[in-house]
Symmetry: C2
Subunit: 729 residues, 2 copies
């Protein structure tokens, strides 16, 4: 009888999307499947109990829906956040237990919002260009729509029609109209905020049987398809799944993508959303996971909180949905094992069963990968070179992608290195204490733009102490790096080379990174950085690192009793100058210790250079920055070719009181050839002589190359060749 | 026949100690027991295989015994170190496998030393007052004697008598005579170096059947018993097992104590060495383990490398011997589980069997403990207050012991705090990179004395910017703190109070620490520091901490573009002044984040004070110091009573993007009574009012006390009383 009524109501309504509920997070059949497995799986049961523990104390109790007032971290912010989580979970429990008290909780709270929302103007703490109403920024309001939409859908059948009307008109409509009218241009943006907004409006559309909402979500407010969810799927990922804002933000954006796709797969199955664009959502998730370190943390490309790892709620949800949509996958299983919780969904139940049935791999199957950037894959990309296994994995990250929208950093041709689980050559990440009210309400701090995003905070070249693109986002967004060649895989030599012609007005940059494993097993990264100009410039290369300085091959002037910043602007003002050196005609070396391993940077100084040992913390009145060291090597010249070698060497055992191979092995470095076409470098490492030859222009991988080196012809194929003691490595 | 020959040789020798070998590390019967269990235990087998893997490649190969040349970390140093380990292990394997190649390896190398040692003078890198010959310091030579003595003893029966003579005269005698004649006064010192020296000479005595050596080891070079091993057992431990140099050094000293005691238990069973002084060696090991953090690291009292934990080789050996000597023990088993290896000994085999048979506890049974210092237990002590369980354990460390000999720090009444596995209010530890040649050969660095040992590097009072005892060891060693009262246990209030009358010429210090768990579960430490003088002084209290500054309750002047040291000497010169504030008539609060928890120091400023936010790193030309923050609160006055509250509060979840209770709850602090007899303090924490009353003179625990507080009589028993909202807590 109920069903008939629903059917009739739907039939009579012109805005009916699909008569059946629940649909948004899971269907009736999905819930039946979860229910049937609840008793059988410890992990699934654990997640169920966990949620029950959170929700049950609130059954029958009054739940506060306060007038919005506080910024992130403050009471009203956290209360509204916890409300949408509570209601979503309560909706789940209603479907899994049949206990109407869970449905009633959702109803009661949504009725309160139906009272609150129609009267809301912009949030009093709103500072962003996309202000929120319930929260300080619209993004959080979109989160609210996603979860409240799913909560409402989950208990739809248990809410009397009159209350439904009240809720739909009072709680949801003002928020949807706010997003699609007041914030129309924000809603229509191809950007992670836009994805949340579309997912929120779309899910509310599904929950409230409102095809208008759903169509705006799918095709943009004008329903033409140039914006909206499908346009976002087209525009925010490269063909191989790279998310233009970087892995930290795909972690965030993946949730609305997956949650809305999941809802669409029930509500609009004909869309075949999971097959869309060659399974772009599968590729996006896999690319996001490949862009994590062995501890599960996301590689800090662009704005990134370094504490974030793949155990976050978003990735739990995405993995569970992906498992149901795309089928079992060993990599996902290894991640699920570390997450140690599942959602109460079809995929969650299936993963729990798989984890019960078999041993999951202990590590995600990391490999060397590269991703193109840009909707068409024509806007540069990111290469990740990897060598070693398990806890001994070494990861080189190289960025020559597009800027990364508003969260982008000015770090074209930037490099970072992870080894033995730790970040060794670092990217600062972002300056933010998310959720901590005392730190600007948990928002991005001013030093995020003024330091963390600046070029000097990264390992790349800073020309004339200015950041790339003069630190202007609108300029940076016009361009991207371009790959010249690469050779990835599992061999003893992996390489990638890319160029950038726009970061500085009259300097063209080209950088090549080689990850080499020597015959005795020692790993090193050879870094060939070429700058081409017509005029004299100052070229600074920073090596921000994590560790304790052990030794330098040169004398320096330490700042013992007074300390001043390295520079005055563009991020330099945040760096204390701890020491300064002038070096000439040498291989300058700096060794440091990280955990139980040594690392040495060797740089060839053919004429002269300055070296600064620096540390963040200057001009930081609010103590927003961590104190982290950096080595900055400064050269003056027209078109320097900079040759660096980074050695990963030795071990320190403070328990056994033993250090082995604490000295670098590189003893000589020479540039043998360096012209517009070819560069050849020679590096002496202990008794081995390493020779690297590369093409400086784009080259077919199979094209035969040759160069006259010390009167002898050396030949190779494609972009590069590497020899050890005359033998191809 | 062989046995008969040995017996006869022994009979004819006037210096025969005991005819049978092996004896030093294990007896023939012990080895038989280990052998019989080898096949049965995975852990034991693992340790056996590990050793075999290290030794086997050297069987039949030439082993270098180089002329001593290099400091610690250098080639000859490491080679001689690895030689004694190799020989010791080879001796073990000979007894476990019967393979004569292992015995031959020991013989061959010892014959090389028999060539080398007689010609050695002081080591060319010797800088200490106790120079070594094989190594830069005599301590390492003593290590050599311990292991080489055990190795020789292990293969004694397999070495032809002529070679024995050569080895005993050439390899051992020069070293023994060097120690007992040239370094006589060092050998006779009651100090950890002396323990190693006695163990080395004594074990060589047992191995070479030389009663003279053994008697010197036991009773000192003059054999009168005022020095030597037994005097060390009497003098280096307090009656309850506290080792006067602190836990880091007991970790080191425990090895020769246990190894020599183990040898004595075989060679001189009548001594009943393990029962000596009420089982002092059992107490010493247990005290050492109680003085670790939950991660197994030793509490950094005095010179301490913070990386050292109880998985170090010394503790593995000691635990295995203790298990055999004193019987099974759950605490030792939990440690053995984390060590995950055993020695190939009777105790090692028994622990391996125990670990195979049952689940070991996951954590050492940490509890609140206090230890007296001094041979008679009359030289102050150390109190450790603990609350919470497992990973939520909070540990307060309070030192009022004697100075700690040459490794002592000037930190009478010093405090540190560990929470949730991390060190929160820190002790710098020692400035040393052990084993790393580039860092002064791995030795203590100059900043160890000039910074780490100074008072300002610790949380206690610095008067007039001078270290306690003016930083003079000979002065500091004359005195110790004195406990006034304490109340430990598992309750909601634990307390300890101690005084010091000598650290500063005209200032008497008294400090009380209360670890309080409030009704809602919030933990806090209340710190009442009283200074009594006749004249005006400057009183600085430092709070070195680990974490990121989150907020202060007061405005400060940050050092944005220039940074200068906080002071000029006594350790102050190493602290950059990051910010400075003047505060008056307030409760000044500083909050910081460590990991996922917040901590706040609140200090009552009744008149005025200066606050410095400081960080180590100034005047550190060689980058020997880690960069660590400190809050320094400076007061001027005659006899201030300083009231601080440290709150442990809230949680930060960067994955869930949520911070809870990030603000301190302390809103008011008052000193209601403060005189020579009694201090009463009131602290308002949220809605709770906490009252603390204490006696400022030594008091019987049961003696009734009372004080007039705001016109009302408050009464308690013994040293202190604590009330929450008027109810005894």
């Amino acid at each position: 009888m109920m069903r008939l009524l629903v059917f009739l109501a739907c039939f009579l309504s012109s805005v009916c999307v699909h008569a059946q509920h629940p649909l948004a997070f899971a269907t009736r059949e999905d819930y039946a499947g979860v229910r049937s497995q609840l008793g059988r799986s410890l992990l699934l049961n654990g997640s169920f109990t966990e949620i029950k523990k959170q929700v049950d104390p609130w059954l029958g109790r009054d739940i506060d829906v306060p007038t919005p007032k506080d910024p992130a971290g403050g009471y009203t912010h956290e209360q509204h956040k916890s409300n949408y989580t509570l209601l979503f979970n309560s909706g789940l429990l209603f479907n899994l237990t049949g206990d109407s008290r869970y449905a009633d909780l959702v109803r009661r709270v949504l009725l309160k919002y139906a009272q609150l929302n129609p009267g809301l103007g912009n949030h009093p703490q709103a500072t962003s260009s996309s202000p929120g109403r319930i929260f300080w920024q619209a993004l959080n309001d979109a989160n609210w729509l996603v979860y409240m939409g799913m909560a409402y859908d989950a208990v739809y059948n248990a809410i009397p029609p009159a209350d439904r009307q009240t809720i739909e008109d009072g709680a949801f409509r003002p928020e949807v109209e706010f997003m699609t009218r007041d914030l129309k241009s924000w809603f229509d943006l191809i950007h992670n905020h836009g994805v949340w907004a579309c997912a929120g409006v779309g899910i509310v559309g599904i929950a409230t049987n409102n095809a208008d909402y759903l169509d705006m979500a799918l095709y943009g407010t004008d329903k033409k398809g140039t914006s909206g969810f499908l346009a976002q799927l087209n525009g925010l990922f490269s063909p191989d799944g790279y998310y233009t804002e970087g892995p930290y933000y795909v972690r965030y954006a993946i949730l609305p993508f997956y949650v809305f796709a999941n809802a669409l797969s029930h509500a609009r199955p004909a869309l075949n959303i999971f097959g869309y664009r060659g399974q772009i959502l599968r590729k996006a998730l896999e690319a996001g996971l490949q862009q994590t370190n062995t501890d599960g943390r996301f590689l800090p490309i662009n704005d990134a909180l370094k504490e974030k790892d793949y155990t976050s709620n978003e990735i739990v949800t995405a993995i569970d949905i992906a498992w149901a949509a795309y089928g079992p996958n060993e990599g996902l299983l290894s991640v699920a094992r570390r997450q140690n919780r599942v959602t109460l969904s079809k995929g969650g139940a299936a993963i729990a069963a798989a984890l019960d049935a078999k041993k999951a791999p202990t590590s995600y199957p990391y490999r060397s990968v590269e991703y193109t950037d840009g909707a068409k894959g024509e806007e540069g990309g990111v290469s990740i070179l990897r060598a070693g296994k398990g806890s001994d994995l070494t990861t080189v990250v190289f960025k020559y992608a597009s800027h990364g929208l508003s969260h982008g950093h000015y770090d074209q041709l930037g490099f970072s290195l992870f080894d033995k689980g730790a970040e060794i050559f670092t990217d600062y990440g972002s300056v933010r204490f998310i959720g901590i009210e005392q730190k600007f309400g948990g928002r991005y701090l001013p030093e995020n733009k003024s330091y963390a995003a600046q070029t000097i905070a990264h390992n790349t070249l800073v020309v004339d102490e200015k950041s790339q693109f003069d630190g202007r986002e609108e300029e940076a967004e016009k361009y991207h790096g371009e790959k010249l060649f690469s050779g990835l895989g599992t061999g003893n030599v992996q390489a990638v080379s890319a160029r950038d012609d726009h970061a500085y007005p009259d300097v063209r940059l080209q950088r090549s990174l080689y990850l080499v494993v020597l015959p005795a097993g020692r790993k090193m990264v050879i870094d060939l950085f070429r700058a081409q100009s017509q005029t004299v410039h100052q070229y600074d290369q920073a090596f921000p690192y994590s560790g304790q300085l052990i030794n330098t091959s040169f004398r320096y002037q330490p700042s013992t009793s007074t300390q001043k910043p390295v520079g005055a602007k563009n991020g330099y003002q945040y760096l204390w100058k701890e020491a300064e050196a002038r070096v000439g005609d040498t291989v300058a070396q700096v060794s440091f210790l990280n955990g139980r391993s040594f690392y040495t940077v060797s740089t060839l100084v053919s004429d002269s250079a300055q070296v600064f040992l620096a540390r963040t913390g200057a001009n930081d009145p609010n103590f927003n920055l961590r104190r982290e060291p950096s080595v900055i090597i400064r050269r003056r010249g027209v078109s320097p070719t900079i040759l660096n070698v980074i050695e990963l060497h030795g071990s320190f055992d403070p328990i056994g009181e033993l250090a082995t191979s604490s000295y670098p092995a590189v003893s000589g470095m020479r540039l043998l050839v360096d012209n517009a076409d070819v560069t050849v470098a020679e590096i002496t490492v202990g008794k081995d002589v390493l020779l690297i030859a590369q093409r400086n222009v784009a080259t077919e991988a199979s094209a035969p190359q040759e160069a006259l080196v010390n009167g002898k012809m050396v030949s190779w194929k494609g972009g590069f060749g590497v020899w050890v003691n005359g033998k191809v490595r």
